[in-house]
């Protein structure tokens, strides 16, 4: 490909999050905050609450640079809303050398580095921020998309400024939510710690680092290998979700306290993931625990649990409560 030295820079940002964490909105806020042509899009996976999702923003003062509707394969900035994703997904894939990996985490840098090294990333900078703690304090919920954008502003102020970001937030959210986010975002620059790479590595805003056919899913069955088109026999493909560790998706999971359970069964019926475990004892089905491998932490079971009074204190306790992972 011919290199054009006079090129106007284009900024490519990727967000990794879980369904419900606002990765798509983060990309959209980029597009709004940037002063010039910009597009953004989600990856086109089936989005379920808690499942891994990614989204992209592509920005440049030169419209022709961002006219493409491709997804982003070689971002300069990769922003991770949930550090558990680092284990499941290669969040550094295709990254431009000298770019930034920005992670919401309470873990130390060394631990994060160790995880990402498994994927042999290019030479990149890392920025860490414990956005979850800020979010829980200011927003009351673990929604960290605006905060991770604050960290992006810190490492890449040339894309858009904090003021531009705040204006975008004011446009996008209803006033009450917007105000909370704007208050929280101001704490971000101080809370973001940068771990730079070798400063001889110069970041490029023009070159394309996409590996050829990297979007094709090589390694999965090809046309000549499908048994009968459209029919996936279970001896060829594992069906069902038994092996998918959806329990790793949430920040919390439900735990069971048998002493407060009246065996009403409300939790069994409300759980969207069939995580309430039962056993056939004394001639009837009895609730005995929670399947933590699949519990995504939706809290529905907690809401419907009527609970039971403690015999000693007389206080009412629920038989299901949430436990934070971190």
């Amino acid at each position: 490909m011919a290199e054009n030295k006079e090129k106007i820079p284009k900024y490519l940002v990727r967000f990794h999050g879980r369904g419900g964490q606002g990765a798509v909105t983060a990309a959209q806020l980029c597009s709004m905050a940037f002063d010039g042509p910009a597009t953004c899009m989600p990856t086109f996976g089936a989005e379920r609450m808690g499942s891994p999702v990614a989204s992209f923003a592509r920005m440049s003062k030169d419209y022709n640079q961002v006219r493409t509707n491709e997804q982003v394969y070689s971002p300069q900035y990769s922003c991770i809303l949930d550090d558990t994703l680092l284990e499941d997904v290669d969040c550094t894939a295709g990254m431009v050398p000298g770019g930034y990996l920005i992670v919401n985490t309470c873990k130390p840098y060394e631990e994060i580095r160790e995880i990402i090294e498994k994927n042999n990333p290019p030479e990149i900078n890392v920025a860490l921020i414990d956005a979850t703690t800020i979010a829980l304090e200011y927003l009351g919920r673990n929604i960290t998309n605006t905060l991770i954008l604050g960290a992006l502003v810190k490492v890449a102020p040339q894309i858009f400024t904090l003021d531009e970001l705040i204006t975008a937030i004011a446009d996008q959210f209803n006033p009450k939510i917007a105000q909370k986010n704007m208050d929280a975002i101001k704490t971000v620059p101080d809370a973001t710690k940068i771990y730079p790479c070798d400063d001889k590595v110069k970041i490029s805003f023009e070159k394309d680092y996409k590996k050829e056919w990297s979007h094709i899913g090589l390694g999965k069955l090809g046309a000549a290998e499908l048994d009968k088109a459209g029919v996936w026999f279970t001896d060829v493909i594992d069906g069902g979700s038994a092996r998918v560790n959806t329990g790793s998706w949430g920040v919390s999971y439900a735990t069971f306290h048998p002493e407060y359970c009246i065996q009403c069964g409300n939790c069994v019926f409300i759980c969207p993931d069939l995580c309430i475990e039962r056993e056939f004892r004394d001639n009837k089905w009895q609730i005995v625990g929670v399947d933590e491998f699949h519990c995504k932490g939706c809290e529905n079971c907690v809401y419907v649990c009527p609970g039971k009074k403690d015999k000693e204190t007389g206080e009412k306790h629920k038989a299901l409560t949430m436990v934070m992972k971190c």
Binding site: S31, P37, T39, P42, A223, G230
Partner: protein
Amino acid sequence: MSVQPMNPFFKEIKKPVELTMTGNYAVAGAVSQTDPDVICAFPITPQTQSVEGLSDVVNHGKLKAAFVNVESELAACAFSTAACAAGARTFIATASQGLLLMAECLPMAPGWRVPLTMMISARAFNSPNLSIWNSWEFTLLSGMGWNTIVSENVQETYDAAIIASKISEDSLFPTQFVHDGFIISHSAQKFFAIPDEDVLKYTPRKPRHHINTDKTGTWGGIVTPDYFGEGRLALELEKNKVLPIMDNAFKEFKKMTGRSYHSIETYNLDCSSKTVFLTMGSMCGNILTWMEHNKDVGLIKLRTWRPFPTEQLRKIIEENNIEKIIILEKDDDLSGILPPVGQSVASALFGINVVLRSLIVGLGGRDVTKDEIEYAAKKMKPITDNRGKLYDYLGVRETKDKMWEVRF
């Protein structure tokens, strides 16, 4: 909902304003500005937000329209056709199997000259597998007699919603406007919205024939073999007027907004290789960005899919001495001949001395990247005739570790 996507359209838009919205919400905004009387559609991914957005605007009170819930796409099409035949400005939207489920009803609106307007968020249909992602299902039902225009990005699909409404009412044929599902429907992009007053001036309500009790008649009643063919020829003669009507709609749109559209748009046709890509929709953007670094091929972008701009295309190919055409299309049809876009182009250009190949890409949401574009351009270089198979699939795995190699 903390995010209020339709907020910009809750109040009067008084001057041109830049917004960032997804394709579907932008369409909802545009449609609300055309002041429809009836909105009737059945939700289906990836079309859903277009109708949800409109329900927000109706619920908010800005738009006074009947928002009609029905039990299926077939019902939606039947209800919309009837409402529009009764005189209502009517909007409908669908995708994929929803469009197929409408098939029994689709021929009526063109037959009765009912100016319905429909958005399609193009999506694969269920064969062999269910896919909620982008393919061009709409090319499968191109023979129904609907006008069809295709958009590249959010700006274009916002504009198309307004232009389509005008084309429908000026031509008295129903008009579909299509964008690529997810790629545009769910992509947030910056675009300029038009002031409400301008949109209303651009899409005035005109008197037209409609079902009423003062001038009674039979709509679509049975005719013997003595009349059916005459009815079809009457449609054909009226259909021949649609391309000029579209040209006029584009021209007036440019006057209003400065944005220039044509049934066919061309880029870099005086390139050295005399080779052009020909495609529609979002892929045009991908090719144009790639062409920033690849100046030796051109692009023919079809905006108008139906009626097919045959004469214009012939003229473009001949006047620019184009030697090779690489069609990229997101559909196939297992027919043993060219896939749908290829069939249309081959019919339009039959007898013209040009080399043509069609490549099937991006089915079921597979992204189309510079890899496909580069491969296609390279593969086309040694081709000099129209012998052998004129199409193949591109960008798919033959086996786990091997790309399918294009054979022509």
